[in-house]
Amino acid sequence: MIRRYFVLGGALVLLAAVIFISCYPGDELTISETDTVVTLFDKNADFSADNTYAMPDSVLHIVGEGDRDDITRAYDADILIDIATQMAALGYTRVGNPATADVHVLPAVNVRDYTGYAYYGGWWGYWYGYYPPYWGWYPYYPGYGVSYDYSIGTLFILMIDPSQPVVGDKVPPPIWIAGINGLVDKSTNAKRIENGIKQAFAQSKYLGEGK
């Protein structure tokens, strides 16, 4: 009798453990849920003194030394327009001559490619009685693997104060930086980039102080 309860107890624990382990939460994300907007600012910067900015007419592509630049330029125009719109909304005026601008705004893009491999183990009788053609004991269902590729893109927006001294060959650190990061997906990139830029400025209201 006692042994029976040991077995019952053990079986219940194992069942609970298997359910528990298979139910670990939060491992699934949609593409848009991978989007992250990070903004950082220099606590000593006085943004209220900055009223004009200069921005290049192109987006810098960050690629490794010797690597081919295969990052698409399809979104460059939208990125520049979206940044200009947000800067104007904060009260900044764009100027053509960087030498006369209070700050320089530099957009840059980086894309990293990744490859993964997922392996599914074999199951005995997994399809047993599930589909009519497989009534009875279905033979060993072999394990299989699948490889997958994905790319993570990041748009950086740097705001640099050109009045800060250049020491040696060290460029002064940005007084504000935004990083908009997420999985690359051609069908949703444009809207997600626009939303990311809006969010970056929305969470950086201090940029508009005094204007």
Binding site: L14, A16, T34, V38, K43
Partner: protein, 206 residues
């Protein structure tokens, strides 16, 4: 989440080993296996404000004096909450879907006192002392920050044992888990505190 797969596998192996060994130890000890529901409180609630239904525990107790047992317990509770919104990080802000996790592994020694009639319902109270292996994780988008620590703590407890048959019983109990030390992911003081409500199966030998 880098340790999670290893921990899941180890937990399953530990359970199999624990259940196997219990048969040999059953003449001296009684074992308790429970499903654990946990409700965050205090600082823990600030980080994850969701009740956890993912938890299980294993405990072994030995009567060393009449109606008094000493024991050892181990359990695993997983708290998780997904939030959308912004997190202020002092010199900046992070916005995105953020998954917050607390994996708590209490490992404690316990002392329990029982009040019921022999063979009948057994209300009991007890105190457990030891600590927690604490894994705090926040994942925002594709980035993740994790902190693994050991925190000293205690867990006062009260419960009931309901005999089913000779050598077996149902058990329910409640425990208040308190860590005496701890920091959150931004290195601010933060103590792990949560209620644990447990229901399970108890097997013993006379």
């Amino acid at each position: 989440m880098r340790h999670m797969k290893t921990i899941r596998t180890l937990a399953l192996v530990a359970l199999v080993v624990a259940c196997t060994h219990t048969t040999a130890l059953a003449q001296d000890w009684f074992g308790i296996a429970t499903w654990n529901v946990s409700v965050p409180d205090g600082d823990t609630k600030n980080f994850v404000d969701e009740t956890s239904f993912l938890g299980f525990g294993l405990e072994f107790r030995k009567e060393f004096r009449p109606k008094t047992t000493v024991g050892i317990l181990g359990s695993w509770e997983v708290f998780h909450e997904r939030r959308d919104g912004s997190i202020d990080i002092g010199s900046g802000t992070i916005t995105g879907t953020n998954d917050r996790y607390i994996n708590s592994f209490p490992i404690m020694l316990g002392l329990h006192r029982y009040f019921g009639e022999a063979g009948g319902r057994q209300p009991y109270i007890g105190i457990n002392a030891g600590g927690f292996v604490l894994i705090q994780t926040i994942r925002v988008g594709l980035s993740e920050i994790e902190d693994d620590t050991w925190e000293w703590g205690a867990a006062p407890e009260a419960g009931f044992i309901f005999p089913i048959d000779r050598g077996s019983a149902f058990i329910i109990n409640a425990r208040y888990n308190i860590a005496f030390t701890g920091e959150d992911l931004s290195a601010e003081d933060s103590k792990l505190t949560y209620w644990g409500f447990h229901a399970g199966f108890c097997w013993e030998a006379y």
